[in-house]
Amino acid sequence: MPTRPGRCTTDMATLLWLVPALPLLGFLLLFLSAGRAPRPVSALIGVGSTALAAVFALVLAGWLLSQGSGVLRVTLWRWIATAGLQVAIGFQLDTLSLVMMLVVTFVSFLIHLYSSEFMQQDEGYSRFFAYMNLFVASMLILVLADDLLLLFLGWEGVGLCSYLLIGFWYRNPSNGYAARKAFIVTRVGDTAFMIGLLLLATHLGTLAIGPMLAGAQVQWPTGSVLPTAAAALLLGGAVGKSAQLPLQTWLPDAMAGPTPVSALIHAATMVTAGVYLIARMHALFELAPSVLLAVAAIGAATLLLAAFAALAQHDLKRILAYSTMSQIGYMFLALGVGAWSAAIFHFMTHAFFKALLFLAAGAVMMRINDEHNIFRMGGLRRELPMAFWSFLIGSASLAALPLITAGFYSKDLILWSAWNFRPGGAVLWLAGLLGALITPIYIFRAVFVVFFGAQHTRPSSRYGVRIVLPLTVLSVLALTAGFVETPHALGSISALSRLLASTLPTRELAGSAALQTVAMVIAMVLALLGIAIAWWIYGRGAAGALRASAPVRALARWWLGGWGFDWLYDQTLVQPFLWITRINRADVIDTGYGALAALGRLANGLLSQTEDGRLRRYAGWIAAGSLVAVAVAMFA
């Protein structure tokens, strides 16, 4: 639907490219000031830029919604203009990128506000805000890009920022190792994404998302080799960035970064970039049903793997990391079964309650001098009520506590969509259901262990307003955000799906409303059952014998290591690479040339032996030589 030309469209267009430009400007200011700016100024720039971006986003949202389902496009300049490829730096705002932009700007504003107090004692204050602003800018570029290459720029930009922020406290080598691991593993995915780009650009001539997808639908028959290959490669990129099987080992280690980083990057925004990519390229994925099935399968497998792994973690942040991996598994499941808007809906709710959980966890740890191990915390609900209540709300939303939490609505929609997916829907639904059971167990295990039971640590003082405000706002959102999309039985509001209908195809769900209610009730019962189990085991400390038994402890250790994937990759990829590079450090080809030179010296040594001053030996050699010469004359 062409946008109506008019003065207000052009202001909106300028507003559109201002949204990513502001954090970028913030980054430049902080980077060029190179740490000389005083803390309040850095905080002001950091938080201010994201706040302004959030405001502009809201204004844009208001305008776009008033436009009906229009698309706002702005092109800044032509990036690459050679014979074979035309790429422009331009942003487009449709309902999908609007939702993403709103969530990204809003959540990052809250997290920036939180971290302005959380990082108060840290000496790299302005450096932190510089990287955070660069991250928000890259994420916005990724979300708003209308050309796949520009999306790839944002894609790599967020990867870089995640590297810089995970390794923020660079003095500790293990942080550096975790940061490098994150960047390299995501880079493997990015390379697959790049090859996908090459394939698309070569065969479809352009990388601009709209025309390219249109061209693909025209040229490529559904299910043929090219779209399947391209979709698989893009899936590779998405799997890398969203920490899904098989490139998921970097996310748990990424918790080495400061908590606001984990909250923003490794919970709310970056890890969902893969989900956005698949949603944005849904037309291509629809041309490759086998890949869509793979997406669903990967989602289901990852959500189970991560859920069980979260059960065995001691570190509070690693529990949340595995939980993020699991929830993104749900989003992939939704994408796989074609419920595009359900995935985005879950992305939104997940962004809120997972950010809330991380910030609450950060608030807790901040007060008990950075103790991560949950078994060394305990009974903190009286000393840290604010952290307790926000963590509790977050956990409830994560566990999909029926009716009152946002998580319930979004997860239920996904489960319902999975139920309706014809080939293999049942299996996916069961996997989702099992995940829905395990999730409350592991999160309430953390709740009961950390906030209930015997008190181990003496937390110190209260929280400032810059921590309380984000926590409260996120808590409210974690509870209310679900009401934009409710199932039939509960008022069948479908605001979000109608909003997204213009960009994402909708699928009428075959099942009747009654069937949906039945499925919903099953999910409710499971959620409550999970919480009960968690309370029974960890609240009252029951089944101690079972937990201490050898097989359970072995299983726990296996799950602690993330089902052994780390060990597997280390043995099969990392060690061989290190071994090969170490033995070839002196470059075997170079030693080859060295050997050549040594040969020369050896020959010189031998020949100079013959010149030893004995005349008769010379005469003998001359005679022998002439003899040979004559012999040659004889036969030649």
Binding site: E611, D612, G613, R614, L615, R616, A619, G620, A623
Partner: protein
């Protein structure tokens, strides 16, 4: 001069040359070595003369004359060297002069 006599002349030259080489290699006394070289040169001259006779051209003799001059120059220098060596190492042993090589 019948052809086979010329052939015998060449055979003579070759044998003389062979003796010269044997003498050169066998003797350790520098003077004897020089003499053997003279024998070899002479054999070569003989071969040239025989060739000249065979084709009736004087070239052979001219080559012989050149060989003569060569031999003369060579002997003079050789013997001077031998005397010089002798004054140094008191012996005409070819191997005694090994120190000269480096």
């Amino acid at each position: 001069m019948p052809a086979n006599t010329l052939m015998h002349a060449w055979i003579l030259a070759v044998v003389l040359f062979g003796l010269g080489v044997a003498g050169l290699l066998a003797r350790r006394n520098l003077v004897f070595m020089l003499m053997s070289i003279e024998i070899m040169l002479n054999a070569a001259g003989l071969a040239f003369i025989a060739a000249g006779a065979r084709w009736g051209q004087a070239d052979g003799q001219i080559m012989f004359i050149l060989i003569l001059t060569l031999a003369a120059a060579e002997v003079s220098v050789g013997l001077a060297l031998i005397l010089r060596l002798f004054s140094g190492t008191e012996s005409v042993d070819a191997d005694a002069a090994r120190a000269l090589h480096d």
